[in-house]
Symmetry: C2
Subunit: 479 residues, 2 copies
């Protein structure tokens, strides 16, 4: 294709994408970039619609270093209608970490597998990916770098990192093959490109970009027969098989409750300070039936935390910035820094609960979400996050009582909405969704705690005891 | 007011605010908080609608320490429809810095003046402010702290900071009077509160909060006679008095241009690395007539920068998250970290240009914006930012030629929109707005550079030379 035609079509594709906001494009540039990058990025910047393109070649900041590794890529995933260009991007953490022997061969494979999952998730959410491996032999690269150094018009384009990459050429070459093979996918293809001058290179890259921006999207979930479910977890809890509470059981009276609550809060306060001083992040998920007492339980937990160390995220409908990103983006952006608590009053599980039952997500989307949620939580655990997941359950009778009490208490009326009654009418649909959620996401290192909440006091004690137990297990094992 | 009634009304006010999204509420808690804070925050959390309230008591993070001091408050200003509670908030940087002798008496006054401006800006943008000074005498505070320490149910609520504040009691007391007097305003009133127990305190705070959430907003600009303008800056440039370019003047030919451009880019590359190594942030503003060549000039600048060190922000219509915040919020959120470049392709000056001419801002709003912009840029300069402001100007004839050329070049057609023709039809209105912008915002330390752009090559050289001169002036003065 002639350059002028190519430029025109590429711009037209970008503008069409901007107008329709139906997809984002991600271009990853990796491989032997040393002698190519600066002139190529300049030309690409010149060709593309700047207002709709962003280049990401940043080193991790402090805030990023304190979050799971993918956080810094998630926060930069382009909104639909825009293009993001990543220099090495998430491959840097595998490629150079291995080239520099900072990780072993097994960890290298793990990271590639993680990248494969990550890219499949993006693709399923209408992020079209194209990955360029810049190819050059070592000798030619050396000559080009030397020529650049001699030329006052280009010498300043080089920095010490480029020479380091030149020295690493054989390593990058050797790692490149397994890297590309493992992460090759129909929805995230690699293209090896070799070019003699920047114009030629940009032309080739632009062709791939145009193809990506205009081809029908490849849905990674499609070949998997509509998102086959994983085998149900062993010993997953079940709201449908939850034994009814024994009305004869001894329930804590008010004085007893206060005594035990204060003791647990003091324990939580100590544990949370210790976690903060060791830089351990804590993520607590609260899901449950309407009126089961999520808010009250969260309040008893936060009462024991220092205000500067926690945030409560109440998850409702996404904002428009959030709607333009993959669904998990709004949870990634809320992850706590090391040493901090994040409490989610409703969470990513909305994808397989309310979004499923109300039809906001298609069956393909919510079925796929189980795997995405497992990966997401896996990322948190790998980073060292303490993860607690609490499902607060009440009986249908008890819910009715609480709805009626809310309707009759002026300052509680706002808590009772049309939606609550609608959800209640779909009680059985929710029970099915909840139990499938347990079966799919109750995992040895990320188990659910199902809490019976017909007795509020007992439930609050159980939640806070559960959090203390989680924290202490981690704090003791780290010592 | 009875507690139950108060709680109900407060909730109702929060829900009304959430529904109407017409204002945000900011509550600042300062003064002698040591023995009050934890129990009071717990109770407040319990009383308020959690999904619409956020408590901010965080210590600055690394990303925050690398930005102007107000950045970390701007990023947390609540969206309209929500409430933000700040423990000390922006007062900490004045009060404790002075109590601990980290700043002198003059700097303390400067910070209070800055806070006054800041709060007036928030108030003018429908952020209702209420500030509580928690009062207690030293002896009583000491007794309360000692009693807490003795009580196992409350001892964990204390940390070493609380004891430090107790030791500082006389200093906080002495600084509190001028602090409150200087920052007292009808739109941001102080209330001194003293309470014997948390319930009583929360009751008093909640009453102030209710009053704030429901009273008619106080517009700080109102008494100033609709936003009186500052005297015009001396030697401010003027597009209307701009001498026409001399067609006989020698213009750089292509070869000459390239030679000079590359030399300037090499110089910029060196300067930018030096600025990065010294942690100097750089903010460059590009405003100008449509088709004057902003994009092309920015491209020549970024070609000399390392991709990981800069971001280009193209400013178009705000997102809905941005619309729910004060207008300047979306510029604050884009400020670069120390050592990084941010280039603004259009900027905060849109407030007094397009928003003024198109009527998106009321006269009171855009008149007020001049002062807000001066303050904003003052904050950048105080932080050590290198600030460059370039206005790219073309003649009306030259613009027509370029519009026609765009209409005839397929890959440039998208750059020409209805809006461009509409703006052109209002050429004189824009000229008036531009010249007033210069008169109001051309300041000794934040001057405008007015660049004649009928000759693109000459213009690009002038821009990049201008940036080099700015950087070198700073780099030389710092040595």
């Amino acid at each position: 294709m002639k350059t002028e035609t190519l430029r025109y079509r590429l711009l037209a594709a970008q503008l069409d994408m901007a107008k329709r906001e139906h997809r984002a494009v991600v271009l990853v540039l990796s491989g032997h970039v040393a002698s190519y990058m600066q002139p190529m990025l300049n030309l690409l910047n010149h060709w593309l619609e700047n207002r709709r393109t962003e280049v990401h070649a940043l080193e991790p900041s402090h805030e990023e270093a304190k979050r799971p590794a993918l956080w810094r890529y998630w926060r930069r995933i382009p909104a639909r209608g825009t293009t993001g260009i990543f220099v090495h991007g998430w491959y840097a953490d595998a490629l150079f970490a291995r080239a520099e022997r900072r990780i072993g061969a097994g960890a290298f494979d793990d990271r590639l597998a993680m990248i494969r999952d990550f890219e499949a998730e993006l693709a399923a959410e209408n992020v079209a990916l194209v990955k360029i491996w810049l190819d050059i032999d070592r000798q030619t690269q050396g000559k080009r770098l030397a020529a650049m150094l001699e030329d006052p018009a280009r010498a300043w384009q080089l920095d010490s990192g480029d020479w380091q990459r030149h020295l690493q050429h054989p390593l990058i070459e050797a790692l490149g093959t397994p890297l590309r093979e493992t992460t090759e996918a129909e929805w995230a293809p690699w293209h090896c490109i070799r070019g003699d001058d920047p114009d030629d290179l940009v032309h080739q890259v632009a062709e791939r970009l145009l193809e990506t921006a205009t081809r029908p999207p490849v849905d990674p979930a499609a070949p998997r027969a509509g998102g086959r479910l994983a085998p149900a977890a062993r010993q997953a809890p079940s709201v449908r098989e939850f034994p009814p509470e024994d009305p004869a059981a001894e329930r804590p009276d008010k004085a007893d409750y206060h005594r035990r609550l204060v003791a647990q809060q003091a324990r939580l306060s100590r544990n949370s300070r210790e976690a903060a001083s060791r830089g351990i992040p804590v993520v607590l998920v609260f899901e449950g039936h309407d009126a089961a007492g999520k808010g009250g339980s969260i309040h008893r937990v936060t009462s024991a935390l220092e205000a500067r160390r926690y945030r409560v995220h109440s998850i409702a409908a996404p904002s428009d910035e959030e709607r333009l990103h993959p669904w998990a983006w709004r949870f990634w952006r809320r992850l706590p820094a090391d040493g901090r608590f994040a409490l989610f009053d409703r969470s990513w599980y909305g994808r397989v609960l309310v979004e499923r039952v109300e039809g906001f997500a298609t069956p393909a989307q919510w079925r796929r979400a189980y795997g995405e949620i497992r990966h997401f939580e896996q990322r948190l655990l790998e980073h060292g996050t303490v993860l607690g997941k609490f499902f607060l359950s009440i009986s249908k009778d008890e819910q009715l009582k609480r709805f009626e009490a809310r309707a009759n208490t002026p300052r509680k009326q706002h808590k009772l909405t049309e939606e609550d009654w609608r959800n209640r009418a779909r009680w059985e649909d929710y029970e099915e969704a909840i139990d499938e959620m347990f079966a799919q996401t109750h995992r040895p290192h990320a188990p659910w705690s199902l809490i019976a909440c017909d007795d509020k006091r007992q439930a609050r004690l159980e939640v806070i005891e559960g959090i203390n137990a989680l924290l202490e297990r981690r704090l003791d094992s780290d010592t």
